[in-house]
Symmetry: C2
Subunit: 241 residues, 2 copies
């Protein structure tokens, strides 16, 4: 059976680069970078350009079976102007390019900051609660989720929004700045599993899922990821306690 062809946007990012290496054997990959291009291997395709450029995006998505959309400004402290360009306009360009080119399935890197004010108030949070962003960054990803729903309802796309928790480049060291990570951690292999399940699940066309490992101290509900995606996290941040 032919391997699916998957475009990864933001392939140089913290998460994008992990996904890139983990998906090498499973999918044929097209990697989209903003400027710098790290080493690529084998038959991997590479494109360089701006996520906010619709004409470029139309080229980038042409002929792929699915998109893992990781590009964007990842800072919780980003300015409005920064997220307006990279996250709001950028995510519109991904969805719209996919619609025009007939690509149905997209995994969208949203963020727990879409509901960050519940966390500040120590409120256990489920994915169906009203959005309560804690930043321009969080608000920009809320728009990405709402726009996803529109593209699913109106144009038949299949979009899965992952409200990613704490993803660390180096997994061997506990983030000692705070205990928050005991609740919010997402291990590399759980992240890879979650994205893969979103790419391969059948009979589902939309969903919002918190992207965390099976942390005992979690205050975000991942039961819908277990039930709808078959997500079975292998890790628990308790190891850092």
């Amino acid at each position: 059976m032919d391997r699916k062809k998957v475009l990864i946007t933001g392939a140089a990012g913290r998460i994008g680069s992990v996904i890139h290496h983990a998906f090498r054997d499973r999918y044929r990959l097209r990697l989209m970078y903003h400027n710098t291009v790290p080493p690529v291997e084998g038959d991997e395709e590479v494109m360089v350009g701006s996520i906010a450029d619709l004409a470029f995006l139309e080229e980038a998505v042409q002929g792929v079976d699915a998109i893992v959309h990781m590009a964007g400004n990842p800072s919780g402290k980003a300015t409005w102007e920064a997220v307006l360009e990279a996250n709001i306009q950028g995510t519109y360009c991904v969805y719209e390019a996919a619609r025009r080119q007939g690509v149905k399935r997209i995994v969208f890197a949203s963020t727990n900051h879409v509901t960050g004010y519940y966390e500040k108030e120590k409120i256990y949070t489920t994915p169906d609660m009203p959005e309560r962003p804690d930043s321009y960054y969080g608000a920009s990803k809320a728009l990405g989720e709402d726009l996803a729903r529109y593209y699913v309802d109106a144009f038949g796309l299949e979009i899965f929004c992952l409200r990613i928790g704490s993803f660390q480049p180096d997994e061997s060291v506990k983030n000692r700045k705070s205990d928050r990570i005991l609740s919010t951690w997402l291990s590399h292999r759980d992240c890879v599993q979650l994205v893969r399940r979103c790419l391969e699940v059948e009979g589902l066309n939309y969903g919002i899922f918190y992207g965390i490992s099976g942390n005992q101290r979690a205050y975000w509900d991942i039961s819908n990821a277990r039930q709808l995606l078959g997500y079975e996290p292998e890790d628990d941040a308790e190891r850092f306690a």
Copy 2:
């Protein structure tokens, strides 16, 4: 007691012009127009400029007690580019200008199209259900609501989002194109009451309310407007049945 000073953005619009005339005696008004300026009266102040120009907005909000934010592209068929400028950037500018100038209270003209896909599927809708926009227009107003929540939580603003139904310039004639209006109608005086209650309610800093009259056939829940705002609609679209 001094009358409050209220800025109305989009004062030339269908709703803005009705609010303008109804509020003349109750508040001191500053009217913001995009280009054309209709006749004004008495001590009304006028400003002309773009809703997406933050520096201009900072001038426009200076010294007012509250803002009725009606400006924006009101078309359910507007392009992404149109709503990105007028509704997304425009609403950010209003909130940010208010924050910088110390204006706390804002009434934001959202729309029923934020949840339009429930209506298409004949699902009775309450304000706390996840957003399901039916258009770029609806998605842009969803962002306005989510960004409002952020400004309330993070900066202490008080913002009330009205998901306005069907507001017609001419109230004497039934819109004969469809029976939808029997469910979605908002009369002029009920609109004026609703905006006024948002401007004057105490002990509340955020809310999403459907803006319709007391229509027997309503499929949007306005019980929270009755309970939290004291909204008592005087009209019912059944008169057109």
